[in-house]
């Protein structure tokens, strides 16, 4: 491996920083770092790396005020009494900000996994049983993305090895494969074979699968158990479902030593794709990771933030975020992304208020306590940014003739048709143009404007020998277009 410059050690703590860094940070490259502790990146004080490089203050103030669109929340006064305050934090303080961002980043695995203890214990019990009885078995874990499956698998692997060492039982070899990295399907067998035989190369006449089958159909003393964790199992699905079949069948062989844990998104993968196993009565155990509910999301976020000595979020803000994300998908990654986005809104607001302070000193010092907590309006702005579609904004800023094309398309499709040809659209377009005395453009330019709209994903333009015969379909809801164009009186009347 090429050697890079030696990693910098964490700098001596800045004497001017006030806050206490929450946790002792280790260097990732530190060789003495314990295996089980969550590895953290070492912080670097980068003095030039502030987000605001010297701009004009007036311009910032105007732009931030208009863009952030944050109204002065009238509930500021009442909410002070509502929650228990911890120590206050200053979002402008770099080390504090970095610590908060780290705790909320998706890549940071928390020390204890909350809300998944039940599932983890079930998986662990299954593995323990298999190891104790020296029997093979298969387990299938399913659930929507972002529900903590891979995270739990990592924890289970570690816990199993610890338990085996404590009990004095020989712990199994662990093999983790992500099925997206396989060049072809049968590579998974050669990987398993490589793990069991410690370097015995598969002979060219027999495939790895046949060798494994031969190995497992006879008694081999001293063969270690092997725990195979296969992530994203649905990448192994082929038309004849052979690979998936053979993989699960390996665990049913009489002398098999393989514990298989498969992870995927589809709930009924086992039922649809492995019918033979059902008939042989060795269906794999299925554990479903349900999407997170609102309370679970709040729990997890609070657990992460508990490590910080100061309060960052208002409880109602966390609840709003959890409710919205739970209602949409129950995906934890989205919740974390929304929280980080809300913190950025807060930073923007505090930059604005600091500019105000430098400008007029007579203003009484703003309520410092309230301005350093992420409030509901920040979270609401962050949620709208994540869930809003950019279509309406884009239609509003389209050039005039392209808007006329969309308007005529809406009128055309109102009559019940789903798709039409370019020649028809041209007729409607010319009619609309005539009604406003705007000279219409020719068919060539119309077709190139339609192509631009097709590139953006607003229309869909088919292929044809002749330009006039190309099929045109609207990919955007007609109601969105009407909403976007309501600001112009002409379109309002036209689309009534």
């Amino acid at each position: 491996m090429p050697a890079f410059a030696a990693p910098r050690h964490s700098p001596a703590s800045d004497p001017t920083s006030v806050a206490v860094t929450p946790r002792k940070s280790r260097l990732r490259s530190d060789p003495d770092a314990a295996i089980g502790s969550p590895l953290r990146k070492s912080p670097r004080l980068c003095k030039e790396g502030s987000p605001n490089s010297s701009p004009k203050i007036e311009v910032i103030r105007k732009c931030l005020k208009s863009s952030l669109n944050l109204s002065e929340s009238p509930e500021k006064k009442q909410l002070t009494e509502d929650f228990v305050e911890g120590q206050n934090w200053d979002p402008r303080e770099e080390t504090q900000l970095r610590a908060v961002n780290e705790t909320l980043h998706v890549s940071t695995a928390p020390a204890s996994v909350v809300c998944r203890e039940n599932e983890q214990n079930r998986i662990l019990d299954f593995c323990k049983k298999c190891v104790k009885e020296e029997k093979a078995g298969s387990l299938y874990v399913c659930g929507c993305p972002g529900t903590g499956k891979t995270l739990s698998m990592e924890k289970v692997k570690v816990m199993l090895v610890d338990w085996a060492n404590k009990e004095g039982v020989q712990h199994p070899d662990v093999l983790s494969i992500n099925c997206t990295t396989l060049a072809n399907m049968s590579e998974i067998f050669s990987k398993i074979l490589g793990q069991t035989h410690y370097g015995k190369k598969p002979s060219p006449s027999t495939s790895s699968l046949q060798q494994l089958q031969k190995l497992y159909s006879q008694h081999t003393p001293g063969l270690k158990m092997i725990l195979v964790v296969a992530d994203e199992l649905d990448y192994l699905i082929t038309k004849d479902r052979a690979v998936l079949h053979d993989l699960f069948m390996l665990t049913t062989m009489p002398f098999s030593r393989c514990i298989l844990l498969g992870v995927a998104n589809a709930i009924d993968l086992a039922d649809w794709f492995i019918p033979k196993l059902q008939s042989l009565n060795c269906k794999p155990m299925v554990i479903t990771f349900c999407a997170y509910s609102k309370d679970q999301i709040i729990n997890i976020l609070q657990e992460r933030l508990r490590a910080l000595p100061y309060t960052v979020f208002q409880p109602q803000a966390l609840e709003l975020c959890a409710r919205k994300v739970a209602a949409a998908s129950g995906d934890m990654r989205k919740a974390l992304a929304v929280c980080r986005s809300a913190i950025e809104m807060l930073i923007g607001e505090s930059m604005l208020s600091s500019l105000d302070e430098t400008e007029d000193q007579q203003r009484p010092a703003a309520n410092d306590m309230m301005s350093n907590i992420v409030r509901i309006n920040h979270v609401a702005a962050a949620l709208s940014k994540v869930y809003k579609s950019p279509v309406v904004d884009t239609i509003i800023s389209l050039p005039q003739h392209q808007q006329i094309i969309l308007c005529s398309a809406v009128k055309l499709f109102r009559e019940g048709k789903k798709s039409t040809i370019l020649g028809e659209l041209n007729k409607y377009y010319v009619d609309v143009c005539k009604s406003t005395m705007i000279p219409p453009v020719g068919i060539l330019e119309l077709s190139s404007m339609c192509r631009v709209l097709d590139d953006q994903g607003i229309l869909k333009l088919g292929q044809s020998r002749e330009d006039k015969l190309r099929r045109v379909t609207l990919k955007v809801d007609g109601a969105d277009i009407v909403f976007a164009l309501r600001g112009v009186r002409f379109f309002r009347n036209c689309l009534k």
């Binding site: 090429p2 890079f4 990693p7 990732r28 590895l39 953290r40 990146k41 070492s42 670097r44 980068c46 030039e48 790396g49 987000p51 701009p55 311009v59 910032i60 931030l64 208009s66 970095r98 961002n101 780290e102 980043h105 998706v106 890549s107 940071t108 695995a109 929507c144 993305p145 972002g146 992500n178 997206t180 990295t181 590579e187 990448y235 998104n265 995906d331 990654r333 989205k334 992304a337 994540v386 579609s389 950019p390 279509v391 904004d393 884009t394 800023s397 050039p399 005039q400 003739h401 000279p439 453009v441 020719g442 060539l444 330019e445 404007m449 631009v452 590139d455 953006q456 607003i458 990919k475």
Partner: protein
């Protein structure tokens, strides 16, 4: 360049500015709310705080997404030397997983002067990618993956996107994935587990022609303090320019320019054209330059073809149009001649020519591209019997007739009648 005409120097300076995308988009870098500063904040926070991020840049073609990205990367290279390395992939070339991994390996090897082997297998390349991410994470170097034509990467099984975005989830790597696409729904095209790993940050590049164009024009056209330009020339040039830009006529020209396409690249082409038309003897831009630049940007090829037609050819076109209005199934040269004769009979015009002259004119129309055969069948038949169709719309024909130098009024009457 002491003895050269200062107008030439000025033209040279302005043209080189227009051709430099970094200069053009640096106008928007001063605003803290612009996409430039948001993008810079995202990438620089990854460099300073060592966290991973992913962002999608959306906007129509020619609105400056790649230019702003290049500007941000250049500025960050200057601020944090040697801490950022960039890998560029394009959806048109590298949407296949194997191809993309090989390209990533090649670019990384080139940047760090490592040996690159073309024989490396897919497995080796993907292991190389993982170890590169790990090593760069340890060395606190950020890798920026730029994926142009992001929507083309979403075809097929999306393995590359999955592996890149999955690497963003791990604590060992330090990288930023920037996707550039013109499809507004690019993130809806992602598979659900890839979408879950994407951080849903989208930066929309919208162009609003009005105020933006004013600022852009001032930014580019106002001459800077330059040793090659005499001061008084510069001051008078700038003053005249500001007068033009505030003029109502100029605003009308800009409106007409933006009626069908209002991207930044369109505006730049217009300014380039206008500057090229600058009169070097007078030494400054005038409103006439802008007006004459407009038709060269918005060319009307059919109008230009009509201008060169003879009166007989115009008659033939009008006859074809009348036949079209009557919605006759078959329209070929014979039927056109019949219509032509009937017009002559009813209006007693003086423009009546023999059949072979008309046939010659008709063939010229075919070559010019104003009419064409309906289909490719009957290649053996002569041009008289094959069905033909008009390639020019009624409106364009009417416009052409109105601007024709000596159009007989009869034709106007015939055209107006069907309207």
């Amino acid at each position: 360049m002491g003895g050269a005409n200062p107008a030439e120097v000025a033209q040279f300076i302005i043209r080189s500015r227009i051709a430099d995308p970094c200069f053009v988009h640096s106008l928007f870098s001063q605003l803290p709310d612009s996409n430039y500063s948001k993008l810079k904040y995202i990438i620089s926070s990854s460099v300073t705080e060592a966290c991973n991020n992913s962002v999608l840049l959306l906007g129509s073609r020619g609105c400056g997404k790649t230019a702003v990205l290049e500007l941000v990367l250049e500025d960050l290279h200057k601020e944090h030397p040697d801490m950022i390395s960039v890998v560029k992939l394009n959806g048109l070339l590298h949407s296949d997983n194997n191809c993309a991994l090989k390209e990533i390996a090649r670019q990384v090897c080139m940047e760090h002067q490592l040996q690159f082997s073309k024989m490396a297998s897919f497995d080796e390349n993907s292991k190389f990618l993982l170890s590169i991410l790990r090593e760069c994470g340890l060395a606190h170097k950020t890798i920026v993956f730029v994926l142009e034509e992001f929507d083309l990467f979403t075809e097929g099984k999306q393995r590359l996107l999955y592996s890149l975005l999955d690497a963003m989830q791990s604590v060992l790597s330090q990288a930023v994935v920037v996707g550039v696409s013109c499809r507004l729904d690019a993130d809806q095209l992602l598979e659900k587990r890839v979408r879950s790993r994407f951080s849903h940050r989208k930066l929309l590049f919208l162009t609003s022609p009005g105020e933006d164009f004013q600022r852009l024009a001032e930014h580019i056209l106002l001459l800077p303090m330059d040793s090659r330009l005499p001061n008084d020339f510069r001051a008078s040039f700038n003053e005249k320019l500001l007068n033009i830009l505030a003029d109502e006529e100029f605003k009308g020209v800009v409106d007409q320019l933006c009626y069908s396409e209002s991207s930044v690249s369109q505006l730049l082409r217009f300014l380039f054209c206008a500057v090229c038309h600058m009169d070097l003897s007078s030494g400054s831009l005038s409103i006439q330059n802008f007006k004459s630049a407009l038709p060269s940007i918005q060319r009307q090829p059919k109008q230009e073809a009509l201008k060169d037609c003879s009166v007989l050819q115009l008659y033939l076109l009008v006859c074809m149009r009348r036949l079209e209005v009557k919605e006759l199934e078959l329209c070929n040269f014979n039927s056109i001649m019949k219509e032509y004769k009937s017009i002559h009979d009813s209006f007693k015009t003086s423009d009546y020519y023999a059949r072979n002259v008309c046939l010659r004119a008709f063939e010229h129309l075919l070559q010019r591209g104003l009419v064409s055969f309906q289909d490719n069948r009957g290649q053996g038949q002569s041009a008289e019997f094959r069905p033909v169709k008009l390639l020019i719309s009624w409106h364009e024909l009417q416009q052409g007739l109105q601007s024709f130098r000596s159009c007989p009024p009869l034709l106007h009457k015939l055209m107006d009648r069907e309207g």
